[in-house]
Symmetry: C3
Subunit: 109 residues, 3 copies
């Protein structure tokens, strides 16, 4: 048994959630924020058998896309902007950051 | 040391939280959604000593009940309903999905 | 690779988040509540290389402070107050509860 923790962009979360349901994975969605851009993201925790981990990772990869996004350093940082370049920059955000954890015990009541 | 991740129904979360406090377990509640029905659930993360894991699992089992719930496939799925049976169905939901994880290091500052 | 789960007080979360960005750690913030006082807290999950765990723990320790806080048992508990002492008490809250977990696989898509 593994516990997968996947941080993805909000924009991808509905499609990924539907894909997980279709493939009969049991996922829970946590409200989350942050990462470098502090933009909206969603954290899924998904329990799965060891032999299904590769299929699950492939599903996440397919549904979570990298995107270019223009950010203004002023709006994306707190008041403390000394020393930062102040014109907008384009950065790549997404697609998914995924941690696979070993599960010591799994219970379903 | 273990970290317990428990996904339970919203309806059970206040009673479980009180029970955890009474038993002197230190729990944190995360806002979560989803699972197959996308119904409201709550995720607890709880740190505990190895020798208290069984007591904690029993506490969760006692306070988290399975329930039958009537769902309408239309409201519980997105617009994409092709191929689904459209009349309401009764399904069993809950009680708790619990993952016990090994902790490599634990710190309290 | 390690996954750090850090539960800290809301009051410390903006400073810690900025410090994590400055030090180039990739953190995700989850909305959370609870612990004994049910006061507002924030849960960070942070992925990091093994050799950076000590630096990360030190960063968390530096930015998350214990505080004394006066609580009223009436407002901090549900209706069920039988047997509790009813006058306000001062307790120490914070600073951070941190779990370091081994990561079996890490993927970035
Ligand atoms: Ni799909
Ligand atoms: Ni009870
Ligand atoms: Ni700092």
């Amino acid at each position: 048994m593994k516990l997968i923790v996947a941080v993805i962009q909000d924009k991808d979360s509905n499609l990924l959630q539907q894909a997980l349901v279709d493939a009969d994975f049991h996922a829970t969605k946590l409200a989350s924020t942050g990462g470098f851009l502090r933009s909206g993201n969603t954290t899924f925790i998904i329990g799965t058998e060891d032999h299904q981990v590769d299929d699950l990772l492939e599903l996440i990869r397919l549904h979570c896309h990298s995107r270019n996004q223009v950010i203004s350093p002023i709006s994306s940082l707190d008041a403390n902007t000394d020393g930062y370049i102040m014109h907008p920059v384009e950065v790549e955000v997404g697609g998914a950051t995924v941690f696979v954890l070993d599960v010591d015990q799994f219970k379903h009541f």
